[in-house]
Point group: C2
Chain length 150, copies 2
Amino acid sequence: MITVINMAKRKPGSPKICDCQGARKSRRREAVVEVLSSGPGHLNAEQIHKAAQKRLPGIGIATVYRALKCLCGCGKVSEFIPADGVARYEPAGSRAHHDHLICTACGCFTEAVDPEIERLQERLAAKHGYKISSHRLEIYGLCPCCSKKV
Amino acid sequence: MITVINMAKRKPGSPKICDCQGARKSRRREAVVEVLSSGPGHLNAEQIHKAAQKRLPGIGIATVYRALKCLCGCGKVSEFIPADGVARYEPAGSRAHHDHLICTACGCFTEAVDPEIERLQERLAAKHGYKISSHRLEIYGLCPCCSKKV
DNA sequence: GTTCTTGCAAAGGCTTTGCAGTTCT
DNA sequence: AGAACTGCAAAGCCTTTGCAAGAAC
């Protein structure tokens, strides 16, 4: 499974993000999952919060963050942090791994995969003695729409 | 030139980061450059600040940040933001582009390049109609040292 | 009834900015 | 002089956490 998770901000002594044994269902968490499943993908926490509020007015941003961490821990959602440092979320599991093409003009995300690149990454990691656990590839540039405008 | 810069936090109306015409030399900026050139690379702002203080006691963290932005704008330094969201800096120009292998256990960085991956990225971008301007590849896993310990 | 979840507000980490004083041209 | 640079402190942004109240098991 390929999931890049935020490493540094997780403090050693902090409580478990997701105790999957004891995790309960709740409307809020379900709402977050629904938003992610039905949305366009690559949403940040604020966008998820807004969308969730339409379903469940009053839901707090902290709840959204907690739900996301929990869902990431359970492997149901994957978090990815692009160069702007703001985490984006997308449903995991059902969806295959993919890399991202990110438009530097309009900010849109396009998903892409190249099996050969994946393979070469394995090779590159092996060459340096690394046991690869995940990777992240982002390509920045102008999307087709924005290329035309310039 | 390949430099991933922080996009979102740069506000539209904010003053120019680096007015290269008017940029002046100063001991602090030179100190920052020296730290970057002589250091191990992949330093974050705090580490740069500490190292710079040894050379110039009293230098402020804001100055370091401002110097880094200026130097990034001038293309002398490149900023890159890994999955922990904390910016790292390394001297640009003299150094060739490279990707990063990042150890999930000890946090160390290893530089690596694979020309074939670079080429395939171009291809992937072209396939989706993107005009590539930069990219970022990070491979997470266990470095040789940490692999042994496990 | 215990354990988990929630909203709110407060705090945290990293980074930027306003301001008044200093340094460079 | 004029423009750019600096330190400090304050503010900003995104995210996490403490706490008391509520919901799930």
